[in-house]
Subunit: 298 residues, 2 copies
Amino acid sequence: MKFLVTGATGYIGRNLTRKLVDLGNDVCVIVRPGSDTSFLKGLAPSVRLATYSGSISELQTILAEFAPDVVFHLASYFKADHITSDVVPMIEANVLFGAQLLESMRVAGVNKIVCASTAWEHFEDSDFDPVCLYAATKKAFEDILTFYAQARGLSAVILKIFECFGPDDPRRKIFSLLTDLSSQNAAPLGMTAGQQRLHCVYIDDIVAAFIAAGDDLLKIEQSGVQTFALSSDRPVSLRELVADFEAVVGRSLPIIWGERPYRQREVMEPWSKGVRLPGWVPKVSLRAGIAKLIKNQD
Amino acid sequence: MKFLVTGATGYIGRNLTRKLVDLGNDVCVIVRPGSDTSFLKGLAPSVRLATYSGSISELQTILAEFAPDVVFHLASYFKADHITSDVVPMIEANVLFGAQLLESMRVAGVNKIVCASTAWEHFEDSDFDPVCLYAATKKAFEDILTFYAQARGLSAVILKIFECFGPDDPRRKIFSLLTDLSSQNAAPLGMTAGQQRLHCVYIDDIVAAFIAAGDDLLKIEQSGVQTFALSSDRPVSLRELVADFEAVVGRSLPIIWGERPYRQREVMEPWSKGVRLPGWVPKVSLRAGIAKLIKNQD
């Protein structure tokens, strides 16, 4: 099959691209000029590279020429706390680019898409209360998506991601912080009281969810938007996560609990109302995932 | 009081600006370079003109210097049926500019806004099913607005407009079409079967709603988004509207009913689930409004 991937230079995107190639598919990735595409080494000739520098005509050409069976849309601009200079690039990446992509799909007759989204649209288990501007822009894109599904025959699956972790994640997130703290002679670090609970899902399971969602789309003809949650079997508190980390590395981490306040809109309990992607269950336990992460780090 | 108006060169915007000035307020309007600002003649010195050519820093300067009590956000890019070349300007005008405005308000400490929106977000009385891409982009902006209200203390009112009519409306809409048809020797025009029903509200009533919503915001301190419908007392079918038009002009209009099909997503029944703006009732009846429109046209 032929799959188009946006955001292929990101952590989930590059792992998804590699897996799609391993499964024998033709893959086209859309990248910005100047993006680091070193992750593609060894994947050619199954992966073709298409460049997008802001113009919808570039996307129209890519969609028309490659004619993918399914589009995986993972491109996004993420900041947990935005500053003023983030507003324009965030809207451009998370709303404008997505709208251009959908319009180009419509023109080219490509009508299946799987989109990465975030459980952070649902602060305090709300139907919609975005934790941050990033989450609001993801929802804004989904409104545009709804138009193309309701009025233009698009079939879409939105996958709402919680915490994703795995080896070689370049993003500065909690798992990379804990990895750093597990090295010998790491300096003590002040953290919050650690009662916030997280759904942690290993990267291979996230990738498997995207592939399963794409397979599901290939089997259906009706248009519309379906939204699913990529939740783990049980959310763990940050304290529990650290305890698991310590058990795996066989060393206690130098954390000073309660030294920092929770952030203004800290997510204490993850969204619980989402329906998990049917047929998908995460296979890698938290401890097994941490072990893979640590092993790869050595 | 000090009011900032976006979209002041549009039909509702210019009427709102004039009314705000008539009521003795200071008004600042944000216009694009090259916009036709002839409507401002006679309104100076109560109206100051600020130019926005795409940069958020321009908006930050305007908001900080003028420090309005309330912002009226009416700027939008409207197409009932978009084509590919509309996608970028529509997202830029309806989402990106709005996000820049909200961020600039936050930085300047301006926290009250009244936003124009559309009942077309609610095809077939849905909670959200946009009739067209325009309606989807309005909703996308409202998601961004929700973030600033929930997380940054903004107080917002969204007013959902149905059909607005009045004299000197430059927009090619049903009322201008009927005005043309009411002139002697107008050529016959094929229309749909005419059973679609519309809420028609006269421009002065629309303007009064915006001013009432602004007044309400000035009285409250709590943040959040409130959404209200600017509906008439009773929707009329296009056939009934034409009958009223004919009664006022004293002449039958040369319409061939049923010659054209309804459009793909024709709104046959207007959104009925909206809560009307409290304390506001339209005062100008359909016939009285048509009479004013015709009189002004002569």
